[in-house]
């Protein structure tokens, strides 16, 4: 590491958690500053995805620096930094500045950015794997490209957990990836992973694994401090409640997720650090970076969905490299058990899944261009060249760049009526200038790529519990009960824009708030491994009996999906005709496929009634049987049908709104500033409708379509799948429901608010389905 630093080369340090890589990233800077002393100018910049991580690293650095007697200024700058300190930091830069991508973008939008960053020697990017592939990562890549130009002498150091594709991260880090020194830390001891299999029947549907609460409690009882990871905030609430119902010893168990009030989260983190807790139920809010306490066991409840994420989570246990981390996987249903097995195999084979770095959005580029303009006049050709050094924008066409420039300047409309309202303009010096300094303030209010769904605070007496989405509140009637912050609450009403709740006494059927977009996609690698298990009966003898019997029953009553083909079952049931396709393309792709299939069936007068999707398959049902399955799944379903559906869907409208906010077309709603007096809302939907009608090829519509297609609906994955199985669709006509189909049909009607509250294994309807499927 030090050698690479002396050569002045960029470096990518890849190590599992616990490898001490953060300190490793800083070490060369600390040594250099020790030798040369503080210059009173910015020397090193540290960027992490989390505010909390930034603060934590600052604390961890300050102590050794003080012990060494160094007189260095180390400061953080995040959304929480007060205005006066920000101003002071602009006027008197610290030696080391620790910040987030958004705060850095903000800093770069000031005219003094050029001298400010000119002295920069080193840029440390922490948790790079978590940032690079996201929309935030696209913005950060542009910010880094700018830094490279302002400070050509600076070294860039990326710190990452183990990833599938290090060269891709190296390219993100530097436009000359061949010059990046990729340093892989020791892989560490292989984790010990067990899979918890129920003593009783294995559930057919659901993700929460409530059945396993007593077994999970036993694991917690045998550990010092356990982290219980789940995939969604709703699952966290449910499993937390279930654990407390099976906790006669009153072991202290906490709850941690991103919608809880900051105070509540800080309390849990402090209690973990102090050793006052035995377990914490957590979502991704505890995935990254910070070590709160001496975790010696990680439980993953619900299928892991991705190998890299699972590895990261398992790494939260035991931070010593020479000892294995201990983990227990708790599947929620039968398919999830297969997925857990597949994940364990992948960990053993040290195979990871890689989320590719997608092309950056044009809305993100628009925000960056506006930021550059705020910092001073720029030359379009130079900026275009600079932007293309950022990996997500390497393939950006000049036409798209010019369209974005025009979007920032005049809105980019074919109808040139906004010339007089230009925000930026090209002057005689050939450079683009900001027309009105007030626009810079407006821009700075709008920096960032995260557009949250509107949320509302939850208040219990004088205590703030956290935030839930407004759409969930809209469903509640006073007197309704719901689970939140680990408590059963009664909704009393809304006062001063807060949801007022009281402790509930009635335990019957509480609702659980769900959060949009909180579902993880099943990774392609994991899906592939599940398919391979299904296609290889020889490996089944290691499976728990109920699951092995289930696979054998499927082989007997129907067929098993084989590699390279798409298995489609059709069967009648109670006057309905069902179609189940085992496409293993992930929930989101299947949701899209469900919409498209029902649209197409409607056109063919097959009278479809509904569909249900899981990560593994999609089921559609209607009043008429489907005979020509191949035609239904024809690849051109992704052409016109998709276009038509996308144009109307609420998904694209939501995406458009986000793009419009990110691009600065619509101003962000700031908490506290909105909703004074009459609530006349003026939605982005109206803008979308008008724009689509009059200028369907507008750059923002292109941005929204691209984001909806690649990011949110996994269209590409669906396309790959349909192309791959073209001519190899295996249509099996069955007289009745198949054993596999039970697992999806049992999930019908469970996607409602109450979600997984029912104990699936006891559900009579499911028992009936199983009896039908298994009948000889």
């Amino acid at each position: 590491m030090l050698e690479v630093a002396q050569e002045g080369r960029d470096a990518l340090l890849i190590a599992p958690t616990g490898g001490g890589k953060t300190l490793g990233g800083f070490l060369p800077s600390l040594i250099e500053l020790t030798e040369c002393g503080s210059s009173g100018r910015l020397h090193t910049l540290y960027i992490s995805p989390l505010k909390a991580l930034t603060n934590d690293i600052a604390r961890n650095l300050l102590r050794p620096v003080a012990e060494m007697g160094l007189t260095l200024r180390i400061e953080t700058r995040t959304g929480d930094t007060p205005q006066n300190r920000r101003r002071r930091q602009r006027e008197h830069p610290p030696d080391l500045l620790l910040t987030t991508p958004e705060s850095l973008a903000l800093l770069l939008s000031y005219p003094e950015a050029v001298p400010y960053f000119a002295s920069l020697r080193c840029v440390v990017l922490d948790e790079l794997h978590a940032l690079a592939a996201s929309k935030r990562g696209a913005l950060l890549s542009l910010v880094l490209a700018r830094l490279r130009r302002l400070a050509p002498q600076a070294r860039f150091v990326g710190l990452s957990a183990t990833v599938a594709d290090p060269p891709q991260l190296a390219r993100y880090l530097s436009p000359t990836p061949e010059r990046v020194a990729v340093i892989a830390g020791g892989a560490g001891a292989e984790p010990e992973v067990r899979i918890l299999v129920p003593e009783g029947p294995m559930p057919w549907a659901g993700h929460v694994a409530l059945y396993a609460a007593p077994a999970i409690m036993r694991e917690i009882g045998a550990a010092r401090l356990a982290l219980v990871f789940v995939n969604t905030r709703a699952q966290a609430e449910l499993i937390f409640g279930a654990l407390w119902r099976h906790n006669p010893a009153n072991l202290p168990i906490g709850l941690h997720h991103g919608s809880l009030d900051v105070e509540q989260r800080r309390r849990i983190e402090a209690a973990m650090a102090a050793g006052a807790l035995r377990a914490v139920v957590a979502t991704a809010s505890l995935d990254l970076g910070i070590d709160w306490g001496d975790v010696d066991l990680v439980l993953q409840v619900g299928a892991p969905k991705g190998i890299a994420r699972l590895l990261q989570r398992i790494g939260r246990a035991n931070h010593r490299l020479d000892e294995p981390s201990r983990a227990v996987l708790v599947p929620g249903n039968r398919f999830e058990l297969l997925e857990c097995l597949a994940a364990r195999e992948a960990l053993h084979a040290r195979e990871l899944d890689g989320g590719g770095i997608a092309p950056g959005g044009l809305d993100v580029l628009a925000q960056h261009v506006a930021g550059v303009a705020c910092s001073g006049p720029f030359d379009a050709d130079t900026l275009y060249a600079e932007v293309r050094t950022a990996a997500p924008f390497a393939a950006l066409s000049r036409r798209d760049f010019d369209d974005v420039l025009d979007l920032v300047a005049t809105g980019g409309y074919a109808l040139r009526t906004y010339e007089r309202y230009r925000r930026i303009e090209r002057r005689d010096d050939g450079l683009w200038h900001l027309c009105d300094p007030r626009l810079a303030r407006q821009h700075r209010m709008n920096v960032g790529t995260i557009v949250e769904a509107p949320v509302m605070r939850v208040r219990l007496g004088r205590k703030r519990l956290g935030e839930i989405e407004e759409t969930f509140v809209a469903w509640l009637e006073p007197g309704d009960t719901f689970l939140f912050a680990g408590q059963l609450l009664r909704f009393e009403g809304i006062r001063d824009n807060e949801a007022i709740v009281s402790p509930a006494k009635d335990r019957s059927e509480p609702k659980v708030p769900t959060w949009a977009g909180s579902r993880y996609p099943l990774s392609t690698e994991l899906a592939g491994r599940v398919r391979r298990i299904l296609a290889a009966p020889a490996t089944w003898r290691y499976l728990p009996a109920p699951v092995r019997e289930w696979l054998e029953a499927q082989a007997r009553h129907a067929v098993l999906p084989q590699a390279g083909e798409l298995l489609v079952e059709t069967f009648p049931r109670r006057g309905r005709h069902y179609l189940v396709a085992y496409s293993f393309a992930g929930y989101k792709a299947h949701q899209t496929l469900g919409m498209l299939l029902t649209r197409r069936m409607e056109r063919r007068k097959l009278r479809p009634l509904g569909f249900v999707a899981s990560d593994y398959c999609i089921a559609v049902w209607g009043l008429e049987p489907v005979d020509d399955v191949a035609a239904l799944f024809d690849v051109d379903i992704l052409g016109e049908d998709l276009e038509a559906w996308m144009a109307e869907s609420s998904l694209i409208k939501r995406t458009f709104r986000n793009c419009a906010v990110v691009a600065g077309l619509i101003q962000r709603r700031h908490p506290g500033a909105e909703k004074t007096g009459r609530q006349v809302t003026f939605g982005a939907d109206l803008i979308y409708d008008v724009l689509r009608k009059y200028e369907p090829d507008h750059v923002l519509l292109r941005a929204a379509r691209a984001e909806a297609a690649t990011g949110l609906t996994d269209i590409r994955r669906l396309a790959d799948l349909l192309v791959a199985v073209e001519g190899r669709i295996r249509h099996v006509r069955l007289p009745r429901i198949s054993p596999f189909a039970v697992a999806i049909i049992a999930g019908i009607g469970r996607e409602l608010v109450a979600g997984d509250v029912l104990d699936q294994s006891l559900d009579e309807a499911v028992a009936e389905l199983v009896a039908e499927a298994m009948a000889d």
């Binding site: 005049t410 409309y413 009526t417 309202y421 809304i494 003026f682 939605g683 109206l686 008008v690 200028e695």
Partner: protein, 228 residues
């Protein structure tokens, strides 16, 4: 949809306009022309097609219903600068409309003094057959705009939000007709206080208008309003 209002037969059109066949009178509220331009002046470069879209819908109605009189129930322009920012072709289209019929601008809180060249007559109120047309709803009976009413209802498991007319026996409020006009939930006191004995909401569907009683409407998430 037919509505009998104070003894007169009126038609609530799914476009949000009101038609009174007996007098061949078409009323539209809150056109908010040039709202996009008003936002653009402040740095939000919204699509500049809102005035086109609003006028196109209005021209369509004038063609299909052939009214003799068109009443703009106030807030015809989004702000005072509105008439000046109209592009020449839009100016021509609008003045062609105001000359094709008897055009009345009821003046609202956003309305400037309109240039004579645009055509039409400006009034603060219009009274016809005992029906009063004004911009702001009043305790007295009449037909008005200003509030931009919209309502939320549950339909097949989904929450739908649509602009709507609101009415009791004496007071009728029109939804905003302008393409970029937002809405105010009718459970907001600004609307509901107008109707101490309750009201019906007439939601605009794609091809027809649907009536819902006050009691089944859903509040705005994030509002302090619940049904009573």
């Amino acid at each position: 949809m037919q509505l009998s209002f104070r003894g007169h037969d009126l038609v609530l059109d799914p476009s949000g306009a009101l038609f009174w066949p007996r007098h061949r009178l078409l009323a539209v509220a809150d056109l908010h022309l040039e709202k996009g331009a008003a936002f653009a002046r402040r740095g939000s470069l919204l699509p500049p097609y809102d005035t086109h879209a609003t006028l196109a819908r209005l021209e369509g109605l004038v063609r299909s219903l052939a009214p003799e009189t068109v009443v703009s129930l106030g807030d015809g322009f989004h702000d005072r600068e509105g008439p000046d920012t109209l592009s020449p072709d839009l100016f021509d289209r609008l003045s062609a409309l105001t000359r094709a019929v008897r055009w009345i601008w009821i003046t609202g809180n956003h309305d400037p003094l309109l240039p004579l060249a645009l055509g039409g007559a400006a009034l603060s109120e219009l009274v016809l057959d005992g029906l009063v047309f004004r911009h702001q709803p009043a305790a007295a009976s009449g037909i008005a705009g200003h509030l931009h009413p919209k309502a939320r209802v549950w339909s097949r498991g989904r929450l739908l939000c649509r602009p709507c007319f609101t009415a009791d026996d004496d007071r009728l409020v029109l939804p905003a007709f302008g393409s970029f006009s937002g809405g105010l939930n009718v459970l907001d006191p600004a609307v509901s206080a107008l109707y101490p004995r309750g009201f019906s909401a007439y939601l605009l569907g794609d091809a027809r208008v649907f009536r819902f009683p006050h009691a089944v409407l859903a509040p705005e998430p994030g509002s302090s309003l619940r049904r009573h």
